[in-house]
Symmetry: C2
Subunit: 365 residues, 2 copies
């Protein structure tokens, strides 16, 4: 199957472990095992069989608490990325029209392209706060439009879709039976403040995981939530790709979600601390600018000097150990993807190193 290189993921794989200051990881600082297990020692009697095939009941009950509207079904997956794959591969066919957005997660447009879907890639605009381009969507929708794929909050912009925007989008989709797949892996930092499309729309499908706002990417545990008919359909293909997520991970995931208030409070503090430092740093570094949001630990940082983003990122990594994903991985020049959820001391040192390097470099030009 012909599929393009996933540039952002390949960049991360190639360079992340060389970083001294990781300024671009979009997860919150990952928790250590004992940080969330605390006194809940592992149950040595846990039998490592396949467990409950579509996810442990105790885990799914905890997931359900993250949403408002009941009567939705859930199936477990190894991360939201696998969830997105399952949704798209189960519901899309060659020839279907899909609408996705840029800058965005490459999976949303190049996975459907790889199976012969026609994809309209609509631009978010920074001047408009990276908001959903509703007028462009209305124009792009056609008879063959089967699915709209997006993230809220979005990677790399951090912007969320508001309740009013969802209602307007649903209005464009519902009569035509268009699915809305929303990767909500960055949702939940403030509980239910960012609305979930699965609470609002019968054909709304969401994916989520413990990897970003819960700081537990190492569990590789996520979910798909939608109406039962859709989940049943997804589970047909899921049998060909996995059996279950397994009882150990399902159990650890439910422990983490039971303790989510503590984890989220820690992570909100990390984000606020980093945003406060960033604000001061931006005031002193007018070559940088951006839209920053309190809902998600990710932003698309703009710079206005003349170095392409790949060269800049490689130089910063090599010369200062400061690691960014370049905007070019999202098809944009003049941007760096900035993670806002990592350790504040490292964040501050990294930004300081970055601005010192830029200043020295700009003087030379």
């Amino acid at each position: 199957m012909n599929i393009k290189d996933f540039t952002c993921e390949q960049w991360m794989t190639q360079y992340e472990r060389k970083a001294r200051y990781n300024m671009t990881d979009t997860s919150f600082e990952a928790l250590r095992l004992e940080e969330f297990l605390e006194s809940d020692a592992f149950d040595g009697n846990l039998v490592l069989d396949y467990g409950e095939i579509d996810g442990a009941k105790e885990f799914k009950e905890q997931v359900e608490k993250l949403y408002s509207k009941p009567n939705r079904a859930i199936t477990s997956v190894h991360g939201a990325v696998q969830g997105n794959e399952h949704v798209m591969m189960s519901l899309l066919e060659s020839g279907d029209h899909v609408i996705a957005f840029t800058p965005g997660y490459q999976q949303f447009y190049d996975l459907p392209s790889s199976i012969g879907c026609l994809v309209s890639l609509l631009p978010y605009e920074e001047d408009n706060g990276w908001k959903l381009p509703l007028e462009k969507i209305e124009k792009a929708i056609g008879d063959k439009t089967k699915m709209i794929v997006l993230a809220s909050p979005s990677n790399p912009t951090g912007a969320s879709v508001s309740y009013e925007e969802w209602i307007a989008l649903i209005d464009l989709c519902k009569d035509k039976g268009i699915y809305i797949l929303c990767d909500e892996v960055y949702r939940g930092l403030d509980g239910k403040k960012v609305p979930s499309i699965s609470d609002l729309y019968e054909l709304g499908i969401v994916t989520g995981s413990l990897s970003k706002v819960y700081g537990l990417p190492g569990l590789r545990l996520g979910w798909i939530r939608a109406n039962k008919k859709i989940i049943d359909l997804i589970n047909v293909r899921r049998d060909y790709t996995m059996i279950s997520t397994g009882p150990l991970i399902d159990h650890l995931g439910s422990v983490a979600l039971k303790k989510k208030e503590g984890i989220l409070a820690r992570n909100r503090t990390l984000l606020k601390t980093n945003l406060a430092f960033l604000k001061g740093w931006l005031a002193e570094n007018p070559h940088f600018s951006g839209q920053f949001f309190e809902e998600a630990p990710v932003a698309f940082l703009h710079y206005d000097f003349d170095i392409d983003s790949k060269t800049l990122s490689l130089a910063l990594l090599k010369e200062c150990g400061v690691f960014f994903v370049p905007g070019s991985c999202f098809g944009y020049e003049g941007y760096l993807r900035l993670g806002l959820g990592r350790d504040p001391i490292s964040f501050q040192k990294g930004l300081t190193q970055c601005s010192q390097w830029i200043e020295a470099r700009l003087k030379k030009i």
Copy 2:
């Protein structure tokens, strides 16, 4: 994407938890967490970040020890089923010709069919010891043949491909550049006794996992092993479907493989004990027969009385709590899939219940 119901998996999901005597699970009796961790308490300091993207080095080093020929590459996956999916979805295109076998694992033929491959499904024959039908393969190979997909040892037959058979098959494939994908999830009970195609053929690709002969399906950890060029290609698509298997599972997997001798000795004893009882039971129950192998905990049990396999399986489950996957899930009548790696007491009680029920039932007919 149009894909058929995975009948065996759906049967397991629907009925397995109702079983009192599970006679059909093809894993060895699953280990409890403390059975293989022993004094190696979990490392509470383990950071739950994404870990090494294509699998932890320590885990891949342990996997490599299961094979003979060096210079192969490995990437980690969540079980062999996901490994098979990755191999087929990465290397196959609509229009490619694929050769698979029956009775066999439905994924091997219905996943490629779902993406538009033309599949030749060749029968294994019980009278021939369920051996590889080399003459039929030779006739089936054509200009568009891209891949041969099989399992060794096989599910549900338990038969393995011998060294000589592999050499003969490679001889048919190598000049035409045909990939051989072999699911070797049932390999390893006797170390390297069952040969691995990845040790014998440049275009041989194998998948394996901890789910069957190692008794740890709950870890959901497996691997793909092939030459580096193939693994690099698979990793391109893998970025769209998962990030990593995660540091916790990778670590537990490497602990289990370091202790494999103890686990395998336990499991060989389970299999031998069950096979010995089965031999006696078959002597007393001439309506049943089969081919049984010491390499794998699975067999396709034949019966010669006139009840269809689904009706028989449902009646045995309902009336005695004895659980089988019916032969019909593999497209065969007059068979039940028999797991040979479970607790011997349950195995013996289950078979006894089964024969008592059959006897009473046959008298009524």
